[in-house]
Symmetry: C2
Subunit: 309 residues, 2 copies
């Protein structure tokens, strides 16, 4: 799957991923009206609104990008109906040829971690039949529990040719509270990065990159430069572009010289572009076209920055 | 909710929680047969089997214990139907008067963390209506992202009078890879424990304990002794009893002198008791009675150990 991701990045020229994190406040009023008219102001109504919104955005941008990253929390808040909308979104994106990174940040141990890995990347045996649950292509994983939490994911990845991105240095202001603390002279995130590199050796793709990647926030460019060296074979998923403040210039050191090795996420900067003054001309009815323009602008920004390497 | 938990622990004399982690291999054949006959060897069939199994166990033990802890991964592996079974289980346990600790180990930042908190402990606004998604009483949370990940949960807890247990020192063999590393002469888990104590100050119950608790594995009694002192006002949720090797005697130092301050989880040791040689006499048909006997034995073991304090 890492090879397919690289192939699609090369084909689109876009090392970006669009975060499908549909907060209800982003969904245009006309869509909410339609959804609530048919399903009520209920969890089902919210899930329907989210699904209509996602579908229009996907239809408008799928040809420009290699991958999407639905944030499962935004669906889980609407309970079982919300998770059904997550499932529909994953399935629809895969139908459209997009690679789906499930931003689930799961982390547990042993058989529990195996169950999460099966839920998102693998299959599960029911009686004599193998069934697929959510079926994303990649998932994000939390490292706090150590190898016992990661290995079950790697085992499923080996079997299914899928991948993971492990949290190393997150984009939020308080990420340093634990991640930056020095252990033997090096910050915790560097130790985690070294472990990601070691875990990744087990599962190399054909293009020189591992199926085991890392999450490093765009808001920490210096740490990105360091971690790029610590994990030379790991793809880095970079959140924090746009709404969280980082621009293309902050990102160059996350990439390798060939312009590969990283994939930059933008969520609300794309899916809620129509609410941004810059794209206000599209109006709420034109939200999906606004998203398309925002994708084109993001690609231009990052391609421009990559020429600086 | 921490006060309600304490009240129920006193009433039952059982500082224990039963982990409802229904792996399909634990479910007796006669239940699987019934479920697959009506729903097929599908995710729906698996979810139905899990639900029937849970319900019989709950009916058999609910009067003995204060709380249950469903592990959401075991439901999530069966996709949307599995999560519907999780929801039914949560609802049914609450109907029976049990406190429900959602073992979800979520961890994210800002609005995403808020969404998880709403999903599991709070409510979500849809149009003009407040809706409840999963509606557990407590949730487990991962600390790796720092205060940005925890504060949204605390905010929801304040509003809803619910609580969280933050992972501090997990029960698995590799938990030391990061958690035991020394920072300024103290292991990371101790720093996390100090932070748990600080976070908890914001949200104290009436009985001297905070709504912000901690997870510390039974398999690490020495660390439990230390962390009991570091977090004097935090309830400790203790996994690792039974199947993971710890017994009542390992647990005494997790408790305060009054026998409060900790709640010990057992999962497969209870729900799959009928597969244990000790309870084999109950047979697969008597699995729920075997679970009841295993609960009674666990209570006796822990009460016996607490007299050692």
């Amino acid at each position: 799957m890492i090879d397919k991701l690289i192939e699609k990045i090369k084909k689109t020229g876009a090392p970006i991923v669009v975060g499908l994190d549909p907060m209800l406040q982003f969904v245009p009023e006309h869509i909410k009206k339609t959804a609530f008219a048919s399903k009520g102001e209920t969890l089902e109504g919210a899930a329907e609104a989210v699904w209509i919104y996602n579908k229009e955005i996907i239809d408008s941008i799928y040809d420009l990008i290699p991958a999407v990253k639905p944030q499962i929390a935004m669906y889980e808040q609407f309970g079982v109906p919300g998770l059904a909308a997550f499932q529909k979104t994953v399935d629809y994106c895969r139908e459209k040829g997009l690679i789906v990174i499930g931003d689930v940040k799961r982390g547990d141990i042993g058989s529990t971690s195996s169950a999460y890995a099966s839920a998102h990347l693998g299959r599960v045996l029911v009686g004599n039949r193998m069934c697929t649950a959510f079926g994303e292509d990649f998932a994000t994983v939390n490292p706090y529990l150590g190898t016992d939490g990661i290995q079950p994911f790697i085992d499923v990845c080996k079997e299914e040719k899928k991948g993971i991105f492990i949290l190393v240095k997150t984009s939020n202001p308080s990420s340093g509270e634990f991640q930056d603390r020095l252990i033997d002279g090096k910050p915790l995130y560097e130790h985690v990065g070294e472990q990601v590199a070691a875990w990744g050796e087990q599962l190399m793709g054909e293009n020189g990159y591992s199926y085991v990647g890392a999450v490093v926030g765009a808001t920490y460019p210096e740490q990105g430069r360091l971690l790029r060296r610590v994990m030379p074979k790991s793809f880095i998923l970079v959140p924090g572009y746009g709404a969280q403040g980082a621009t293309g210039r902050d990102l160059v050191h996350f990439f390798d010289k060939d312009g590969l090795g990283a994939i930059v996420n933008s969520s609300r900067g794309i899916i809620a572009a129509y609410r941004n003054e810059k794209y206000a001309g599209f109006g709420a009815e034109g939200f999906a076209e606004a998203s398309r323009q925002a994708v084109l602008d993001m690609i231009a920004d990052i391609q421009g920055a990559l020429h600086l390497i």
